[in-house]
């Protein structure tokens, strides 16, 4: 056989191979690719439970579980953006409701409205209206909120607090006194923090900011009715600096999970984290109200820092039918009641079955219905991603330098640039 004919056969074979792959992919429309960053403790188990229900309801649809690990989706978001820009969207993806969804994907025309679908399934009125507002743009709904997390929670090791005769603090002064007392009386870190990934320090800062400003003024920061010149903003930096005196010395080497472990191992008393930490505690075998307790971050009782994970329908999703089946499941009462008790979050629907939730979550559901909702900055609900990154940078440097005026000035500059 001559070289030439060998080459043409090889070429032919490659084409056959490529075409067979293409036709194979086209023949199987019964797939759905779900993109999320749910790889940690309770999150992954919740997602798997949801997949089980999905398989029961849709035995013909194969699930492709596309997850990218990394706290608060920091790595997943980069992967997702590349896929979206490259015209290779997953069928449905996890995105925080608020600015992250609306600014990045809706205003740029990458999402399909799903208002009609929610009405068709008769679930639109079962959702908390304020949450639907966070995923809406110009009157159309663009995503199904699966869950609601609260950001401003301080979890504590009950045994340590009892040992030091401390009652759970309710305002910032009693909180600082409690931290001080623990640091004076023992080797235990008063407050556990793991800010190897910068956002956790920003997370503490935003919960303090909502405390010093109050929920109404805090919400005003995002629509322009409150200025970053406000004295409360500077005060929040002062309080934050004070609280950072009581964190574990090696905070820069840890993640939020490591910090939660410190509380679990009785090496630290408090940790300020969103209530996904509650799901994490439970997977590690802790019982709410028995081993660990919680309060809203002292001084923020009237605020509910909302983080909501949502899923939408991208333009050009390769398997829209699969995606719709997925959205229908997570919008349903059964879907929400399957996922949320395991993940340690509360449903975005208002008709959920309260019996399925543990004492912490029922407590949170009560607050959710009664106090003012405030969008989280570091989790992308309040402000564009440019501002979030700038804030994390400012706080990261502030933790070391402690220069209040400099940090305040840079916050104002960041707000002018991005908001």
């Amino acid at each position: 056989m001559s070289l030439k004919s060998k080459f043409s056969i090889a070429l032919l074979l490659s084409f056959v191979l490529i075409f067979s792959m293409v036709t194979l992919a086209a023949a199987q429309d019964t797939k759905v690719e779900i993109f999320s960053w749910w790889t940690g403790g309770g999150e992954e188990e919740g997602l798997q439970a949801l997949f089980e229900v999905f398989k029961e309801q849709n035995p013909n649809i194969e699930i492709i579980n596309a997850t990218v690990a990394g706290g608060a989706g920091s790595n997943a978001k980069a992967v997702l953006k590349t896929r979206m820009v490259g015209g290779n969207p997953p069928d449905s993806f996890q995105v925080h409701g608020g600015a992250e969804l609306i600014d990045t994907y809706v205003k740029t025309g990458m999402m399909q409205p799903i208002t009609g679908l929610l009405e068709e399934w008769g679930v639109r009125n079962n959702f908390n209206q304020q949450i639907l507002d966070m995923v809406s743009h110009e009157g159309e709904i663009y995503a199904v909120p699966v869950n609601v997390h609260r950001g401003n929670v301080a979890f504590f090791n009950k045994a340590i607090l009892e040992e030091h005769n401390i009652t759970p603090p309710t305002n910032i002064y009693t909180f600082i006194n409690a931290l001080k007392k623990i640091s004076e009386e023992s080797d235990v870190s008063p407050l556990a923090l793991g800010d190897k990934n910068k956002w956790t320090a920003g997370h503490i800062f935003e919960t303090i900011l909502v405390g010093t400003l109050g929920p109404v003024k805090y919400n005003g920061l995002w629509n322009g009715s409150t200025s970053f010149d406000e004295p409360g903003v500077r005060e929040s930096l002062v309080v934050f600096k004070e609280i950072m005196n009581y964190v574990n010395e090696d905070h820069a080497a840890l993640t939020w999970q490591d910090a939660a472990q410190r509380v679990l191992n009785s090496e630290a008393a408090f940790t300020i984290m969103g209530d996904w930490a509650e799901g994490y505690f439970k997977t590690l075998g802790w019982t709410p109200n028995k081993d660990f307790g919680w309060v809203s971050v002292p001084g923020t009782r009237g605020s509910f820092m909302v983080i909501t994970d949502t899923f939408g329908l991208p333009e050009g999703a390769p398997h829209p039918e699969g995606a719709k089946a997925w959205l229908k499941l997570i919008a349903s009462k059964k879907g929400q009641d399957t996922f949320n008790p395991i993940k340690g979050s509360i449903p975005a629907r208002i008709d959920a079955d309260k019996d399925k939730y543990d004492p912490y979550l029922t407590d949170s559901m009560h607050d959710f219905a009664t106090v003012t909702l405030t969008p989280s900055i570091v989790h992308g609900s309040a402000a564009p991603e440019g501002f979030v990154t700038a804030l994390n940078d400012i706080i990261n440097q502030f933790v070391t330098t402690g220069e209040v005026d400099n940090a305040h000035q840079r916050l104002i500059e960041a707000a002018n640039e991005y908001l």
Partner: protein, 305 residues
Amino acid sequence: MKKTAKEKLISFAILSPSLLFIGIFVYGFIGRTAQISFLNWNTFSRLLQGEKNYVGLKNYIELFQNPRFQTDLWNTLYFTLFFIIACLAIGIFLSLLLNNKPKYGYLFQNIYLFPMAISFVVTGTVWRWIFSPGTPGDPYGVNLLLSRIGLTSFQWKWFTSTESFLFFNIALIPVIIAAVWQFSGYTMAMWLAGLRGIDEQLIEAAKIDGASNWQIFSKIIFPIQKPITLSAIIVLAHVSLKAFALIYSMTGSGPNNVTDIPAVYMFESTFRANRYSTGSSIAIILLMMVGLLIIPYLINSFKED
């Protein structure tokens, strides 16, 4: 050997696919990155709209005024410097030891070279555990070892330390140790290959003339090995500029960016903050830094040819 026109054509035909792909995927994309670095694509929607508004050097000027980027440049300078010096010193020392063909020499040769086969992510993760400082009451890793053997005064905060000396952030020391652990075996292998090629008679002649071991090393071996040392430096230098995976998995940017490098900042600007033009500017600066190292080397080797 003279090549016929037909042979030239064939060699060009064989090379052309790779030339084409390198042209598109390397130089084309470098050009595209350079273009974006002069635009104002600092939000996601501007990227999508794709309107080309040139802003000149604005992105570059803002970067050099940015304290984080200034820290990054200092970190890169010191990291590269210490990384290369330590890799050369340790690698050359090991190669000289092994060149005497000690018992089990091949075993040790493999042990020293082995870390190179591991990815930076694995190295970073493991060395993060080793150097994680823990708290004074509950030390971890090396600090735990130090407290077990009673050397508590040598405990420090390792890569979470925020102190610096002449702009050198001491938190970089553990990172440099990890990188040197991984790459000193590379210098060793390069040098060993060179040493095996040195004519024994040359060394013996020097010995007969009464040269000391140090004289043999500094006057004979080192000059002969100069080209090898130079190539090792070039490779190590560009590894240090690309240490993203090591830093990212081991320490992150660190408190007050003590272990931040331009590559991490580039990633965060581009994919977290959606500041594509800022990210591209950092990429171009990194490229120029690599060029600064490699171009003189290339010119030099072309001259020798």
